[in-house]
Every structure is written in structure tokens, then in C-alpha cells.
Amino acid sequence: MKFQRKHILGLEELTAEEITLVLDTAESMKEVSERDVKKVPALRGVTVCNLFYEPSTRTRSSFEIAEKRLSADVLNFTLSHSSVSKGETLLDTARNLEAMGAGVIVIRHPMSGAPWLLAKELNSSIINAGDGSHEHPSQALLDLFTIREIKGKIKGLRVVIVGDILHSRVARSNIWGLLKLGAKVRLVGPPTLIPKYIENAKIRTFYNLDEAIEGADVIIMLRIQMERQESEYFPSLREYSRFYGLTREKLRGASEDVTVMHPGPINRGIELSSDIADDAGSVILDQVSNGIAVRMAMFYLVASAGRDA
């Protein structure tokens, strides 16, 4: 099958076949990172701009490495040192980048939907690097890639997502991807952080961690965003950690070869007890290196599809 999309905005709009093509392509890209010379000429002459309206080190670095390994020219626009802080609108900034020749714009923005606005108004290819509490497709794709790599498949797996589902774009994108590829999705967290109306019969929600992880094949822990602590979705971090933090004891109910994942950065002792964080460490680092391969695949595919535009 051919990839026809000029943009990758979210997993909600991708088909199972498109997601699988991204994952297959990423498998080939992964090999490039294992070479002595970690660079291929595929995107030579293409300018990619990373436009980040939210602080981010790891996602931005991962995108940047992916761009460089494909030989693209990279331009970074971050919140603190750009016209963004001078009051220019998003669209004006993006049009300027396009005028500078950016063929692909990677955008992270606190407002849900911002990447769609750019996709509608500009000719460049747009890749969503996280919009508000809506979608974070590259993270979900790398999670899917990591699961497929470890388990050999995704279909039929019991995958539990733990934590702040309500605000999490990682959760939202993962739910779409997992369902499309045939996994059984369970969500668990404090009632205040689980969306009230989930209109999908295939998703089960829990408020009790032990019940949720029974027989789980994969557990995806979400980061508790300290920045949102003001808003009192739960009484205290300590309480949250007691009910929803993953410890060795709680993990006993899961499947024997359960895989624990975390998008990072980890709050040790809150989402994961320190020993679990160490046990899961290699998988979490796999997620990071797989992230580069998946993002390379995303660039290759949108650049190919956007060619005739």
C-alpha cells in the first residue's frame, strides 16, 4: 500500500494499514541508527522546521535527530527565543517559516487543533508533535512500535493505560492506535481524571488499579503533570501514588511477562516505584531509541506523499 497523506496529525484519522506501514518503515529505519555513519541521504534538500510552543527536550531532540539522520536541514523555533514571544500569531509565524522554504513543519502547541489549522492554511507538510490534550501521534506510534517489537503483535493484547487520562494526549493517541490494531484497552485512574463519556464499547474503565491490571500484557503509565497539581484533581500526590502508583506488589496480578512502559520523564516514587522504574528501565530506553526510528519513518512517508503538492 502507498502512503497518501501529506500530514500526520493524529491517530484518529489514520487507518490500521497506514499505522502498520509507519511501523514497518520504522523497522527499516531503525537499522540506520545502528550504523557507524548514522545518516542516509533521503531527505537531502528538504528543510524541516521544529516549531515548539511548549517546553520539550526529549520530543524535540528526538525529532531533530530523526531529521538529521535523513539529511534534512533543520530549523528550530522554540517559545523562548523567537517571534512567538513578541506576540506574532501562530499562523503568521508558520507562514514565515514556509516562506523560508520549510517543506515540513513539526508543531507542538498548547491548543488542541493547532496542527490542523496549519495543515489547512499552509502548503508545507505538518507533523503534530503534541497539541493540547488532544493527540501526540509520534509518541503513540513509538509505543505501538515498542509493543509490537517486544510482543510480536498487538492484536488481542490487554493493554492498560494508567493515570491522568483526561488531560493526556499520549493516552488519546494510544487509545486510537491500540483499538485500530485490535488490542483490548483498559483505562484506570482517579474518577476525576477519567473522561466521563467514553463512547466505545471496546474500552473498559476502572478506578481500581488492581482490578485493571489483572492479566495485563502491557501497562502504559502516564506521567502525572506536576504543573496541573494546582487544579486539585486529587487530594495529594501521596494519595495518588498509593492508589495508582505501580509497585512490585501491585504488578503481581498482571500477566507473567507484562511489559511496563512510560513516555518519560518519570516521577520516581509517584507513578512507578523505584524498583519498577529500574526493571522497566530498558523498555523505557527502547521507547526512546525507537522514537527516532518512528519519526524518521513519519518524515519519509509525509515527504513522499507531499511530493506532488
Partner: protein, 177 residues
């Protein structure tokens, strides 16, 4: 479409025997040899060469596979890019005699891409090219060291190498356009 059989399975078999002997003669054995096949059919020809070398010399040279998609020079013209498959070179090419294997050599552009990709893995002491068919029409100053059969073709014709592994039988045919 008219079809003309250029090589049958017996001829292909003998040709592989000959090419292998030429490779061993030129490199004085198989000691520093590594063989790299270009996806897809070059890989299967490379496998046969490697097996033949093992039979003759008692050593099986390391074998790798190359997918040149990310190195193509026509990527920016194509509206639909080909699917990227895996390159696997699980050994060092440093100071090795590399035998690159492809099914057909035509414009030379695939070979150019393959040369560039191999260089990214290290600095071999030489790279030699083996092709089952040389159909002419080179667009770059590149030529094969070991050739199965050399034919004059029109650019409107198509040369296809069929192999048991991918197509069910061994033969080389020319399709007249």
C-alpha cells in the same frame, strides 16, 4: 507482449558456477571476501554464490543485504516513494573485498546508490560488481566485474530475472514493449 527467453534454469546454474569461479580467481580465494546482495533478487543470487563458494573453498563468506531506497537519486521526482526495506550488514566491511550482487545492471543508478550506502558502513579495500544480466544503456560511468550475460536491448524492452525463491522458477526473459 512478446516474450523472449534469454536464459533457462540450467544456464543460470552454470552461470553462477562460472561467476563464482571468476570471483575466487580474482580474489585468490575467499579469505577477505564478503558478499552483499541488492534487494530483492540480488539477494537470492548472492545466496547462491555464497553457497557455491562454501562448496569450493570450505569457508562461507559473510553475506549482507542492501536496500538502496534511501539512497536513490530519483526520490525527489517520484510522486510515490517505494517502501523502505531493511538493510542488513551484520559484519564489518572495513578492508574487505566486497562483492556486490544485482540481478540486472542497466542505467547504473542502482549501483551508484549501493556504492554510496556501502561506504557508509566503512572503507572496504575494494567493491566489485556481479550482475546476472548486463543490458547496456548506462547513464553513469559504472560497469560490472562479473557478468552472466550481456545483451543489447531497446529501452522500451524489459528484462526480467525470475528466480525460484521469488517467482517459482529460474529464467531470464526479455519483454518487448
Amino acid at each position: 507482449m512478446a516474450e523472449n527467453v534469454l536464459m533457462d534454469s540450467e544456464t543460470i546454474k552454470r552461470t553462477i558456477v562460472r561467476i563464482t569461479s571468476e570471483i575466487l580467481e580474482k580474489n585468490k580465494g575467499a579469505k577477505e571476501l564478503v558478499v552483499i546482495g541488492i534487494r530483492t533478487r540480488g539477494v537470492h543470487i548472492a545466496e547462491r554464490i555464497v553457497n557455491r563458494i562454501e562448496k569450493l573453498e570450505g569457508i562461507k563468506p559473510p553475506m549482507g543485504t542492501l536496500d538502496i531506497t534511501l539512497y536513490r537519486d530519483d526520490l525527489r521526482r517520484k510522486t510515490e516513494w517505494p517502501k523502505v526495506e531493511k538493510t542488513e550488514i551484520p559484519f564489518s566491511v572495513e578492508d574487505k573485498e566486497v562483492v556486490l550482487v544485482d540481478d540486472v545492471i542497466y542505467t547504473g543508478r542502482t549501483t551508484r546508490a549501493a556504492l554510496e550506502e556501502i561506504m557508509d558502513f566503512g572503507r572496504p579495500s575494494s567493491i566489485q560488481l556481479a550482475a546476472m544480466v548486463d543490458r547496456g544503456h548506462r547513464e553513469l560511468p559504472i560497469q560490472a566485474d562479473y557478468v552472466g550475460i550481456k545483451v543489447n536491448t531497446l529501452s522500451t524492452e524489459e528484462v526480467r530475472v525470475h528466480l525460484k525463491e521469488t517467482d517459482g522458477k529460474d529464467e531470464v526473459i526479455v519483454l518487448k514493449g
